[in-house]
C-alpha cells in the first residue's frame, strides 16, 4: 500500500506510480552565460527525483469523495513539510514534497462517486552555492 507521511492518500481507488526521467540536468551555455552566441552545453547537477501518481479517488458518497480530495490538497500546500513517500512497490523515498495535485475533468457519479487525478512528488534540491 502506498502512503505519504504515513497517510493513505490514494488507497481509496486504483493508482499507478511512475518515476519521472532521471539523470543529469544539462543546460546550454547560451542560457548559463545569457549569450546567444555561446555554443555547447554543460551538466549542472542531477535532475530532481520525481514520482507521478495517476489514479482515481473512490467514495460511496459525495461528502466522502470531497474529504479524500481535501486530504490530498492539504498535503500539497506550501506550508506542508516534506515526508517519506512509499510507492506501490513498497519502496520508501524520503524528503519528498507533494507539489502538484490536478483533478480530472469531472466528478463521476455512477455506482459510486469517483474522481481521476494526477499527483506529483519531487525531492527538491533547493538552492546550490
Amino acid at each position: 500500500m502506498s502512503s505519504f507521511r504515513s497517510k493513505d492518500l490514494f488507497g481509496s481507488g486504483p493508482h499507478r506510480m511512475v518515476f519521472a526521467r532521471r539523470g543529469q540536468l544539462v543546460v546550454p551555455w547560451a542560457v548559463l552565460l545569457t549569450d546567444p552566441s555561446a555554443r555547447g552545453s554543460d551538466s549542472v547537477g542531477d535532475l530532481e527525483f520525481e514520482v507521478a501518481v495517476f489514479g482515481r479517488l473512490v467514495a460511496p458518497d459525495l461528502a466522502g469523495l470531497l474529504a479524500l480530495r481535501e486530504a490530498i490538497a492539504a498535503e500539497s500546500a506550501y506550508a506542508t513539510s516534506t515526508g517519506t513517500l512509499v510507492d506501490t512497490a513498497g519502496v520508501s523515498h524520503s524528503g519528498m514534497r507533494l507539489y502538484r495535485f490536478e483533478e480530472g475533468p469531472r466528478i463521476d457519479r455512477g455506482r459510486v462517486f469517483s474522481l481521476s487525478y494526477e499527483a506529483r512528488f519531487r525531492r527538491l534540491a533547493g538552492p546550490t552555492p
Binding site: G13, P14, H15, R56, A89, D108, G110, V112, S116
Partner: protein, 148 residues
C-alpha cells in the same frame, strides 16, 4: 427489456393502439475505468453516464395523418406481463424525448397484405439527472389492461 404485445400503451396522454413491441436498451454513454499497479485487469469500472433508448413499433392499418415529432417530451407508459393470465403484470413508465419517427411499408404502398409499421424511437430523460427515468410498478393482481 423487451415487451411483446404490450397493452395500454400511451405517450404524452395519447393512446397508441396496435403496438407490437417495446424495446428498452440501456447503454453506457461513458465508462470510467482505472488501472492499478498490481496486474493486467481494471481495478475500477463504473458507468457515470448511461443512455436509455426506447423503440416502440406498432402496426398501422390505415392512413395516418398525426404523428409524434422529434423533440416531443412526455411519459411513455405501457403494461406488460410474462404470461397470458396477467399474473405478475407491471406498468412501465418512461419519461422520454422522441428522437426518430419512421414508417416501414412492406411491399410498397400496396402493402402486399402485411400492415405497415410505425417505429418511434426515444431517449429517456431524467428531471434531475440522478432519478432513473424508467419505473416499473406491479399492477397488484390486476390483469393486463386492468385498473391499478
Amino acid at each position: 427489456m423487451l415487451v411483446l404485445d404490450p397493452t395500454a400503451v400511451s405517450f404524452a396522454g395519447t393512446r397508441w393502439e396496435g403496438v407490437r413491441f417495446v424495446q428498452i436498451d440501456r447503454r453506457a454513454a461513458r465508462t470510467a475505468r482505472e488501472q492499478g499497479d498490481f496486474g493486467p485487469f481494471a481495478g475500477f469500472v463504473d458507468v457515470p453516464e448511461q443512455r436509455i433508448g426506447v423503440r416502440v413499433e406498432r402496426e398501422v392499418r390505415g392512413t395516418e395523418l398525426s404523428m409524434p415529432n422529434p423533440g416531443d417530451l412526455g411519459e411513455l407508459s405501457f403494461e406488460a406481463s410474462t404470461n397470458a393470465s396477467g399474473a405478475g403484470a407491471v406498468r412501465v413508465r418512461v419519461v422520454a424525448v422522441v428522437t426518430d419517427v419512421s414508417y416501414q411499408v412492406p411491399g410498397g404502398a400496396s402493402g402486399a397484405g402485411r400492415p405497415a409499421r410505425r417505429i418511434v424511437q426515444f431517449e429517456a430523460v431524467s428531471a434531475d439527472g440522478s432519478t432513473d427515468p424508467m419505473t416499473v410498478e406491479p399492477l397488484h393482481g390486476a390483469g393486463i389492461g386492468g385498473a391499478s
